[in-house]
Amino acid sequence: MTGMPSAPTPIIDLSQVTKIYGHGAGEVRALRGIDLRINAGEFIAVMGPSGSGKSTCMNVLGCLDTPTGGTYKFLGVPVGNMSPDQRALLRRNYLGFVFQGFNLLSRTTALENVELPLVYRHVPKEQRRALARKALQEVGLGGRETHVPSQLSGGQQQRVAIARAIVTQPQVLFADEPTGNLDTATSVEIMKLLTSLNEQRGITIAMVTHEPDIAGWTRRIVRFRDGYIESDQINEPVREL
């Protein structure tokens, strides 16, 4: 092995990761052995039919869920050996997550929802406010700060969820269908935002999408089928101007 140029440690390294829901006859094998490496600075689209395990995989990557088998190394450190508090710190300091179902706090204003991750990062109040405002402006929701989720459309809630995920400037951003509820024009705005976060700030992004047009913005497309990775291809991003 001596003399071989050592490849850079991938930021994310999944090997033979499985996830089984339930027991016995009713068990569902959502992931059947996933090997996936993501290097710092990548912009990946995850595609595949409904029920193929995309969300399950993203939850594992986001340290929100524990895999049934296999190992997940984040920056070379096996996540499986970490305590719940260490995983919480990992989420707090390195990861951002956009849920397929948004998961905003109800009866809580858009601004306070976006502020939430900063509260746990102990960012002082004034700075927190300013950062949350800026993030809401970036997703096109300036002026909606005081609206609560029930007063926002599905697409607007989705954008609040995106703002909450990017407000901390995470090293890695996981987004589960971040444009699923958005019209084409807004989707393009979001993709421009994600692209600039990836290119200007160097944030690593993995996003699930069903739309080839959206996947086309990324530089790598991973396709899931029945809990396996069916294909993993380089993509030449198409830029709409």
Binding site: N59, G62, L64, D65, T66, P84, D85, A88, L89, R91, R92, N93, F97, F99, N103, L104, L105, S106, R107, T108, E112, L116, P117, V119, Y120, R121, H122, R164, T168
Partner: protein, 403 residues
């Protein structure tokens, strides 16, 4: 971290006005009810004890006839007492402080245009000492007045008020039935007895005056005996009984034709009764406490799903389990404290109003205040905190999927 948790907790309280209000209400009901009920019960007990004090301390009363109250057929057939009996008690029973013979009868008291139906009590100069009942003005009976059966009287406060109003009664002549007698003194007010009788509604005269000029015989109906301080009334009672058995020639083993009542016995019976009342009130209060507790529990359990998802979201954006728990604990404690303070304030106000309305003293029982508060707070904290603790130990995604 602590500051953050406080901010987040207060935010959640403000955000969920209904849930917070209902939780506080549950605690307010529990704490308030217990404090109100116990205050009323304790007030009644204190009132009874005051009444007992008013009767006079260490007071024994000898009646003729058998049984409690000395009434019924036995009374009329049993021979009356005599002054010899009174003197024998004075001389032969150890530990006696004062002895007063009494004879009572109803009469009409008239002064000027005022007319009042009252009780006449024939007795001697020991009466006020036996009953521990100071004079408000004037003087006690003199030896010669007692011996001669003079037409002099001492007025109870009620009779004084009804006949004289604000006028000075000393030296005036009051007509009692056919007898006209001069007022030489007035008694201080003793108020109502534990039985609800107005103890001040009486006119006290020399025994002989009543015997000769009102009832027309030489009988003594009952004898009041007060024991010296520090002397057991049981001992005095036993001595009294054996002395009177001998004097009245009651055969050994036979039921006596008199009875000696210790007012302490009556008072302890009354204390017992109020204690039952207090327990009853306490039981009602305990039910309220329970109802309040179940209310809090319900609200907490109903909101568990929403709160579990909330916890999932917080964990997902980087909260540690202990951040979340601290927030929930502060939330629960704040609500409990709010509810507790309002409940204590309401309970004490209601208790004060009720004791005022029932004319009983207001007694503060700090132990019960603390206990009821602790119970309600514990319910609030247990049902607010423990579901949160379970949720905070889940993977975030499991908490988010909670249904």
């Amino acid at each position: 971290m602590f500051g953050n948790a406080i901010i987040l907790a207060l935010r959640e309280i403000r955000r969920n006005v209904l849930r917070s209000t209902l939780t506080i209400l549950g605690i307010v009901i529990g704490v308030g009810a217990v404090i109100t009920m116990v205050t009323i019960g304790e007030g009644a007990t204190a009132q009874v004890q005051q009444d007992i004090q008013k009767l006079g301390s260490n007071l024994l009363q000898v009646f003729r006839g058998q049984g409690f109250g000395g009434g019924g057929g036995a009374r009329s057939s049993a021979p009356p007492f005599s002054m010899e009996d009174v003197n024998a008690i004075k001389n032969e029973v150890a530990g006696v402080r004062a002895v007063a013979p009494t004879i009572g009868t109803g009469t009409q008291a008239i002064y000027g245009n005022s007319n009042w139906s009252t009780q006449v009590q024939g007795t001697d100069d020991q009466y006020i000492s036996v009953r521990d009942w100071p004079l408000a003005s004037g003087r006690n009976f003199s030896e010669s007045e007692l011996r001669a059966g003079a037409a002099v009287c001492i007025l109870g406060a009620t009779v004084q008020r009804e006949l004289f109003g604000s006028e000075d009664p000393l030296g005036a002549n009051v007509r009692l039935g056919k007898l006209s007698c001069q007022v030489i003194g007035t008694l201080t007010s003793k108020g109502q007895s534990g039985f609800g009788q107005d103890q001040d509604d009486l006119v006290v005269l020399p025994l002989r005056t009543v015997q000769r000029r009102i009832v027309g015989n030489a009988d003594v109906n009952s004898i009041m005996v007060s024991a010296r301080d520090g002397v057991s009334t049981e001992k005095v009672q036993a001595d009294l009984e054996s002395l009177l058995r001998e004097r009245r020639k009651v055969r050994p083993g036979a039921d006596p034709d008199f009875n000696v009542r210790d007012l302490k016995e009556i008072s302890s019976a009354m204390t017992q009764t109020t204690r039952v009342l207090t327990s009853l009130l306490a039981a009602v209060a305990a039910v309220s406490l329970l109802v309040g507790g179940v209310g809090i529990m319900n609200i907490m359990l109903v909101s568990v799903t929403e709160r579990t998802r909330e916890i999932g979201t917080r964990l997902a954006v980087g909260a540690m389990a202990r951040d979340v728990l601290l927030q929930f604990l502060i939330e629960a404690v704040t609500l409990a404290a709010f509810g507790g303070i309002i409940g204590i304030a309401l309970g004490l106000s209601a208790g004060a109003l009720a004791t005022h309305a029932f004319h009983v003293p207001f007694v503060l029982n700090v132990g019960i205040v603390m206990l009821s508060f602790a119970f309600s707070a514990a319910v609030g904290i247990i049902f607010g905190y423990f579901p949160a603790r379970r949720a905070a130990q889940l993977d975030p995604i499991e908490a988010l999927r909670h249904e």
